[in-house]
Subunit: 181 residues, 2 copies
């Protein structure tokens, strides 16, 4: 399905995890997505805990026909989310992720905030690991979000912890348009 050269395709297939309490998990996955899209890879980012809004990254991704972002989550920032709804929506997002992975149409699949969905028990860790185990060959998968479960860390090939050393919370700075979203 993919138009990339065999030497690129053969290098793919790892499971990467970006976790920790620091900045840059989703952002690093985005950087990877744009880099990969630049190389011609088919890239999709499925967002678990983020609502369908036009963040800067969604606008930027529109420049690429081989990079799509699917924000399929509920809006935890602006509203109180019912736990049952959260579970149901997260489960549907996981089903969508499986469908996309098993379709074998993508070279890089990013499951944004998937770690959070697992750590909050909205989706089942073992079901995610089954999905990873059953993925087609040479698909690179990236999972982002705080509190990656130990089973995921054990299964993954590459794990990076983004650790907060200093954050300007005390200056009263919250998420900024163009920088944080």
């Amino acid at each position: 399905m993919s138009k990339i050269s065999a030497d690129i395709k053969e290098g793919l297939g790892l499971v990467q995890v970006y976790t920790g309490n620091g900045k840059g998990k989703t952002t690093a996955a985005l950087g990877l997505a744009f880099r990969a899209a630049g190389r011609g890879l088919n890239v999709i980012m499925v967002q678990f805990m983020k609502p369908p809004e036009n963040y800067g990254e969604h606008i930027a991704a529109e420049r690429f026909d081989n990079f799509t972002i699917l924000p399929l989550g509920l809006d935890h920032m602006k509203q109180r989310v019912d736990k049952e709804d959260d579970i149901s929506v997260s489960q549907k997002t996981l089903e969508k992720a499986k469908e996309l992975i098993y379709s074998d149409e993508y070279d890089l699949v990013i499951l944004d905030e998937c770690n959070v969905a697992m750590s909050r028990h909205l989706i089942d860790v073992d079901e995610v690991i089954d999905m990873l185990r059953n993925r087609p060959e040479n698909i690179e998968i990236v999972l982002t979000g705080r509190k990656a479960p130990q089973k995921i860390i054990d299964y993954a090939d590459l794990v990076t912890e983004m650790k907060m050393i200093k954050h300007p919370f005390d200056k009263g700075i919250s998420a900024r348009k163009g920088i944080e979203y």
Copy 2:
């Protein structure tokens, strides 16, 4: 100079640092760059230790007229670099960075691998801090690279350490086209 709205511009002005031995420092800065470019910010990434080659990110950046990547470093991967050359090229890169920052034409300036250049004493930490102190208002600056000097960490508003938890070195996997570059 910038075409972005006042509410976005007013939110800018922090100094961010991505450091540590883990993956995702340059990649997170890239993700931030694409997000910001999507929002209309003028973005420039000056690369200290990277040679002018067409990595995936350079190809992707060509889709944006408001995001430029300038790889101004020497190729440390493919050749042995003479220390004097390294110092001279890094100093020129710092001069270029100053020129771009002082021009006040950019909203987001990324100094990629600048921390490495400082930690290797190719450029002077105090000179970099002077540049940061003298930056025009409402310019966001990001410094990436391992071993950020303590003075930089002290001066910065936001510091994230990318910490390697697991890396597939033992599987004999090196940098892969489309993923690592």
